[in-house]
């Protein structure tokens, strides 16, 4: 939790807020303004920004609405990390500042900048639409309102935590894939998709999943866990991402995608060698022809420029591979059992 302990005993001090500024009407590039204001212990970053806007510079622009951590408006980066300004204590951030007494405030990443700390949320909404982030009820509209679906606690618990998401876009801002590829589905939309897919009242699981395993979808995630670490509602987003992948592989047999093939090649390497066979992994993931045409030239260039060592053509099994294999099989068996009992 964000309540600080005994690090800063004093009740009031001057704090400098280094605020990202950009007004597209006049600025050709962004810059920072420093605002030094007196701050009492217990004040949130949002209240400090409000103070700056009301008393120092009314042109500083940011979104804020409920001020209680539930509407998700005030997502921004404080000292480099995406969070809600309204639930973040200035004192806690001071303890993490690189420069003593200075707190840096910047807009969220990976969404188009509008002005100062305000970014455009439309791309996120468009993705929610693209991946059908809604329950498409199995009940016909004409029957609605007459009776309840009966939902067991077990079913409810599958999506309960995911429905905490307030779409603040902190995870979107922290996502390392989105930095490279703006078309990537994004963690928030994967979370919502998962939430819909495990809802027994929903009827379009298969269509949604088919969309999720396409390009820019669920297989693009590289497990950096930054979405989960930055989630302001502590939602285990990676569980949702793994959930969709397992669903795609196990129950739906959607193995004909490069993501699925990659995962399977990974598994088989680990089982056989205890480590990866990097040289052949791309061929097994994307097929020989595609890899020759698209990846090989780049790989050769990288090796020549010494950006990567040439992969050893033959990989010997790791030491102790026999013991490892039996443990590996045991683990796989456990996972299978888990899935079975989960589905019941």
């Amino acid at each position: 939790m964000t309540v600080s302990t005994d690090q800063h005993k004093e009740g009031k001090r001057d704090v400098t807020f280094r605020v990202f500024r950009f007004n597209p009407q006049v600025d050709s590039k962004s810059y920072f303004d420093d605002y030094t204001i007196p701050v009492e212990r217990g004040i949130t970053v949002l209240r400090a920004l409000n103070y700056i806007k009301e008393h120092v510079d009314a042109s500083v622009s940011f979104r804020a609405f409920c001020q209680a951590g539930i509407c998700g408006s005030c997502g921004m980066r404080v000292n480099g990390i995406s969070m809600l300004a309204c639930t973040t204590q200035v004192w806690d951030m001071l303890a993490k500042s690189k420069e003593e007494g200075v707190i840096k405030v910047e807009p969220l990443r990976n969404l188009p900048l509008i002005k100062d700390l305000i970014v455009d949320m439309d791309p996120l909404v468009d993705k929610m639409k693209h991946y059908s982030n809604w329950v498409d009820s199995t009940m016909p509209e004409s029957e609605m309102g007459k009776k309840e679906f009966l939902v067991s606690e077990e079913e409810f618990l599958k999506y309960d935590k995911a429905t905490d998401c307030i779409l603040c876009a902190s995870c979107v801002s922290e996502c390392s894939i989105l930095r490279a590829n703006k078309e990537y589905v994004s963690p928030a939309v994967l979370l919502k998709s998962y939430r819909m897919n495990v809802d027994t009242r929903d009827s379009m699981h298969d269509l949604r999943l088919a969309e999720l395993v396409k390009d820019h979808g669920v297989w693009d995630c590289t497990h950096c866990y930054r979405c989960q670490e930055s989630c302001v509602k502590s939602i285990p987003i990676m569980d949702a991402i793994h959930g969709i992948r397992e669903d795609a592989l196990e129950s739906r047999g959607m193995k004909d995608t490069s993501g699925a093939k990659h995962a399977e090649a990974f598994m088989s390497d680990i089982e056989k060698k205890g480590k990866l066979v990097e040289a052949t992994l791309p061929f097994r993931t994307n097929g020989v022809l595609w890899t020759m045409q698209n990846l090989l030239p780049m790989a050769v260039k990288m090796i020549l420029k010494r950006r990567t060592p040439p992969p050893p053509p033959m990989v010997k099994p790791s030491k102790g591979i026999k013991a490892f294999r039996s443990e590996f099989r045991e683990m796989s068996e456990h996972v299978k059992q888990d899935h079975k009992s989960h589905k019941k």
Partner: protein, 567 residues
């Protein structure tokens, strides 16, 4: 722009339900939702506790009839009984419908929708999803509107209605992203802009944007506002911020304790104790504080809301958000310590006067939810009835507008009218000479409303409040917007919101001064009892020649006769 059949102003629960229902009623209609925030940011998300419906899942003997009676009694008999009947009879259907489209309601052991006790209710009929009910309902409605392809104009701020005689031609609004003033010609307009309790500023649990924009626009267009003096104070706002601790915390068994460690509600509502109706519990807290039995702190006097005896498991599973808020905003973990609370302005019972179909007196203009006053809450709203209100009447307004839209001829909004609006905005941005700071005015408005038009009201205080609001309105003319940017000018936005709050504050104070009785949330120390002979009626505030003019409207009665209200 091509004229719309329906323009809905506001994307909270009422607005989104209206949009969904209107599309269902007639998919051929051209419908737009205009909102000053992304719809999923709307204040519906902050509703924690739940929505009442006599599903009889928890208490098998619960009935719609009992829900009706509880609501009428809770309203201190000021609610219109036919409207309450609509609210409560539609309730089970609407909760099930929400369930059918994906709302993640908490469940009972028999897998039906869970219900819990709430203040002023004879049976446990409040349907909930942990303490994030409003949030999950809002998400569900937003998802369904995306599914249906509702056209959203997000981050548009409504400025005024375009009016021709007794007819509305549509709406004029500002696009926040560009600063452009745009016309939305429309056959019908539905206001669903939420409440106005933020005029109490730091003594309010509301979002910064709950500034009564729709009510102020309607008021300026000559549409009467009803029962504006009735503002509900929630008993348990966090001491420092005014943020809300849900009634669910008491529903789950929380105690209110004064500094002597006494469960003082035994003196005010011996039977219902902490689960008495909100107005009564708020007054009880205020009385304890005024009589010196509250705790003292630099941030003000307060009372303890004690949950420690409920245990870590229950708090973590049923009240996780409350725990998080108490820790973030008060530095208190409710598992270990009591939460410091005091009453906070929370809900506006008053609003745009509508009939049971959401129609206002102006042709083609409708209102629903907290921005409207049907009236189903009368002088005091019961917990769990506000989410219900926005759902039921949002849906009805959407349905009615969809049926009636094609009756009205589309009208164009002239470019001159749009230019005039823009010119007015521009001129308000650059006053010459001495100028005022909007932040200070806003702060002062909150202070004077809390001190003079607060929980306990009295003639001389109210006179002072009226004078101070008038003075603030005068000073407002000198407010300077120092951000000159067209793009996302939140400075200008906040100044326009302040204007709306000032216009409405005048109606709240005037109504409170006129109403010489105590009823529901309105407590006059100089008129301490309910006066049915003189005041069993609605007050109507209309803007005439730049001033508020008060009128009245009879209360619709039904099968319940006036009774004394005790708990």
């Amino acid at each position: 722009m091509k004229p719309f059949d329906i323009v809905i102003v506001g994307g909270g629960g009422a607005g989104l339900y209206a949009a969904m229902e209107a599309m269902k009623t007639n998919p051929a209609l051209n419908i737009a939702v205009l909102s000053k925030v992304y719809p999923n940011r709307s204040h519906t998300s902050a509703a924690q506790g739940g929505a009442n419906a006599a599903l009889a899942n928890k208490a098998k003997d619960d009935t719609v009839e009992m829900h009706i009676f509880d609501t009428i009694k809770g309203s201190d008999y000021l609610a219109d009984q036919d409207a309450v009947e609509v609210l409560c009879s539609e309730a089970p259907k609407i909760i099930r419908e929400l369930e059918n489209i994906g709302t993640p309601w908490s469940r009972l052991d028999d897998n039906t929708i869970a219900q819990r006790p709430f203040g002023g209710a004879g049976r446990p009929r409040c349907c909930y999803c942990a303490d994030k009910t409003g949030h999950t309902i809002l998400q569900t409605l937003y998802e369904q509107c995306l599914k249906k392809g509702v056209i959203f104009f997000n981050e548009y701020f409504a400025l005024n209605l375009s009016v021709n005689g007794s007819r509305s031609k549509g709406l004029i609004a500002m696009n926040m992203k560009t600063g452009a003033v745009e016309a939305f010609p429309a056959r019908t307009v539905i206001f669903a802009t939420g409440g106005y309790a933020k005029m109490y500023w730091n003594r309010s649990s509301n979002a910064a944007g709950n500034t009564g924009d729709g009510q102020a626009i309607a008021y300026r267009a000559g549409i009467p506002l009803k029962d504006m003096e009735f503002v509900q104070f929630h008993p348990t706002g966090l001491r420092k911020s005014g943020l809300l601790v849900t009634e669910g915390a008491r529903g789950e068994g929380g105690y209110l304790l004064n500094k002597d460690g006494e469960r003082f509600m035994s003196r005010y509502a011996p039977e219902k104790m902490e689960l008495g109706p909100r107005d009564l519990v708020s007054r009880s807290l205020e009385t304890e504080i005024l009589q010196g039995r509250g705790f003292d702190s630099p941030a003000g006097k307060y009372i303890h809301l004690d949950l420690t005896h409920l245990g870590a498991d229950l708090i973590k599973s049923r009240l996780p958000q409350i725990r998080e808020m108490a820790m973030n905003f008060e530095g208190v973990d409710p598992i270990l310590e009591p939460i410091p609370v005091r009453p906070t302005a929370h809900y506006s019972m008053g609003g745009i006067d509508t009939d049971n179909y959401g129609r206002t007196v102006m042709e083609g203009v409708y209102a629903a939810g907290e921005s409207a006053c049907v009236s189903v809450h009368g002088a005091n709203r019961l917990g769990g009835n506000s989410l219900l209100d926005i759902l039921v009447f949002g849906r009805i307004a959407g349905h009615t507008a969809a049926l009636e839209a094609r009756k009205f001829e589309p009208a164009a909004i002239s470019e001159d009218e749009v230019k005039d609006q823009l010119a007015e905005l521009r001129s308000s941005m650059q006053p010459s000479g001495h100028y005022e700071r909007y932040g200070e005015l806003r702060e002062e408005l909150g202070q004077t409303m809390a001190a003079n038009v607060g929980i306990y009201r009295e003639s001389s205080l109210l006179k002072k409040g009226i004078a101070e609001v008038a003075e603030l309105k005068e000073r407002f003319k000198k407010v300077r917007v120092s951000d000159s940017s067209d793009v996302f000018n939140t400075n200008l936005l906040q100044v326009l919101e302040l204007k709306n709050m000032l216009d409405l504050a005048e109606t709240v104070a005037a109504g409170a001064f006129a109403r010489e009785e105590s009823r529901g949330s309105h407590t006059r120390t100089d008129f301490p009892t309910r006066d049915d002979e003189k005041w069993h009626k609605h007050t109507m505030a209309t803007l005439i020649d730049g001033h508020v003019k008060l009128g009245e409207k009879p209360v619709t009665m039904g099968r319940y006769e006036l009774q004394e209200r005790t708990y």
